[in-house]
Symmetry: C2
Subunit: 362 residues, 2 copies
């Protein structure tokens, strides 16, 4: 029996939309078509995904004007110039305000397609079909779209909610193992920050999850998206709660920057960063040392790093973290655990404690 | 005695903001500062306005980090590349999410600054200080921001509301007479589409208005902004009401395109276009022929054209209008008067009637 879930993301005064999570959803023509507003569609994908899934999506759309933009693959192409290419395609083919953009790919494709949809003729519809575990559990919720600028990541962007998100877990079978692990780091993160039972469930099921067991994967993605949606909704009332989604990210960004982007995948850097965050939470007396070991065990079983890279120094970490945009007025605002399953944003950690935590994680 | 008005634009679920209209408002440091959120400001202006008013604004901001972007003057620079220059300035000077952009200039500066504010770090604050009559009565209300694409005007953009709009009527004294007339065309438009008493008031006061009488100008701008705000607010409930703001624009765009942009100013093209729209309203039996003459008299007193350009043919008009984005499914959707002071959007005019109306206006 196939397992299919439907989740509705409720976002206050913004429009709500569903996330469909299940097997063989790319074959569900009616589902896709029911979210297309007019008679025009523009599918945006990349050169890696196009040979695998473009025809599978396109064949449902015989009755529509369909144009396709195939982007080069990689974060380095997440620029305004690439988005300009999407505008060009839309205008050359006379797409009007009722057009629907379909993002078929990972986070980079989703961010750029969403941004093009947010800004084409002051906003048109778009549908997300994320094809990596990371984008399925991260980009599906929150409405963040945008591109990088030479002077900073995601510096140009807009909030724009999709019509719907279609997550077909079958696409994970063609995902490189390393990227599956990187996505799993974010899944584990949701357990750590907000959902202890989910964390325990991941521990129990990590081996079949890493083999892409379909039923378990549908469950893991659903609970990840639900947790993110809960946090994002809360943030509309309590400013800054959303920052807990960045557990491990301040340390992780330092790794990504120092190693130059791409050497460590984002999820890998977040994994090692979460270990530091838990170590620091331990040093501050919030959690037992055993909890740090417990996380390391889980990450190892997910084929993720648990130690910081040898070629970096503590000083380099601190310098990069102080440059990070999450630092306000020279105080380090960090996401730490109050307990396993409950994260908080705090600036109470002293520089000495942060230094010690980093040292302990090499 | 100085005349100062304050108008609040209420926009449903979007945030409301005030429009201040009066004399010597550029000298009011407290007013400006009270709408700046953080400690960083970026003033965007152009090479025509900067020598006239930049220092006047800047001197209120000694206590802030102030950066300035001076754009070249003209619609041809309303592009993504120019907006990129604004992002560059913001990032090179480390502007964070609490920064405030100030648009000091006409519609082009306002549209681009608003768009940069809408998309920098997914949206920052901005303040409008419009310096042309056209931008004071048109861009102050509605939240439309954006840039042109080689294949179409305003094709890339976003809705983004300012913190406030500051309209200093004294700046109109340095505005070229032709641009004052062009702005007056839009003022007259508000009377025609929605406010018969205002239309009569403009007729009574057109001579002192054209000499920039301060009290009358404050009144004219206030009632124009109020009329636009009423229409925009209504549009949230009744889809498409907003289109009545385009009275004369479909005909006007045809003129602008055929003459290449800039030969006729936008307001001049709208003036001649409104004459055609009223002629057509007469042919359809809505208004008396005398009303067309009445409008022509008023436009003439405002030094605006009332006839279509000799070098165009009826066929050329129809071809350009059918290409216009306001045409849906081959039917001409036009804004016509039901009576003076009440506009409607309709596709009831036959091609023959439209042709006749154009012919009658050469």
């Amino acid at each position: 029996m196939m397992r299919n879930n439907r989740l509705t993301v409720e976002l206050g005064d913004q429009h709500s939309y569903p996330i469909y999570i299940g097997q063989e959803l790319l074959s569900d023509a009616d589902k896709l078509r029911s979210y297309i507003r007019g008679r025009q569609v523009c599918i945006v994908t990349n050169e890696t995904i196009a040979p695998l899934y473009l025809e599978k999506v396109k064949r449902h759309l015989d009755a529509y004007q369909v144009n396709v933009v195939i982007l080069p693959d990689g974060e380095s192409f997440k620029t305004l110039d690439t988005v300009k290419g999407i505008y060009d395609c839309l205008l050359e083919n006379n797409h009007n305000r009722t057009t629907t953009l379909i993002a078929l790919g990972g986070g980079v494709v989703g961010d750029m397609t969403g941004y093009a949809a947010a800004t084409y003729q002051r906003g048109v519809a778009f549908i997300q079909i994320p094809t990596t575990l990371l984008s399925q559990v991260d980009s599906s919720v929150g409405g963040k779209t945008g591109v990088n600028h030479p002077l900073g990541k995601n510096m140009v962007g807009a909030f724009h909610q999709p019509q719907c998100v279609i997550i077909d877990t079958d696409v994970l079978k063609t995902l490189p193992a390393r990227e599956l692990s990187a996505g799993m780091a974010e899944v584990i993160k949701y357990g750590l920050i907000a959902d202890l039972p989910f964390y325990q469930w991941i521990e129990e099921n990590i081996t079949p999850l890493m083999s892409c067991d379909e039923h378990l994967m549908v469950e893991a993605i659903t609970r990840s998206c639900q947790n993110k949606a809960d946090v994002v909704l809360l943030d509309e009332k309590e400013d800054n709660i959303r920052a807990i989604l960045n557990l491990g990210h301040t340390f992780g960004h330092a790794i990504e920057t120092a190693q130059s982007y791409g050497v460590w995948l984002h999820g890998e850097a977040v994994a090692a960063g979460m270990v530091v965050a838990l170590e620091l939470s331990h040093l501050m007396g919030n959690i037992a040392r055993a909890e740090v070991e417990r996380l390391c065990n889980l990450l190892t079983r997910a084929h993720l790093p648990t130690r910081l890279p040898d070629n970096m120094s503590v000083e380099q970490f601190l310098a990069l973290m102080l440059r990070d945009k999450k630092v306000l007025d020279g105080r380090l605002r960090l996401v730490l655990l109050e307990s396993v399953g409950k994260a908080v944003v705090t600036d109470k950690a002293s520089i000495e404690q942060v230094t010690q935590a980093i040292k302990n994680c090499f």
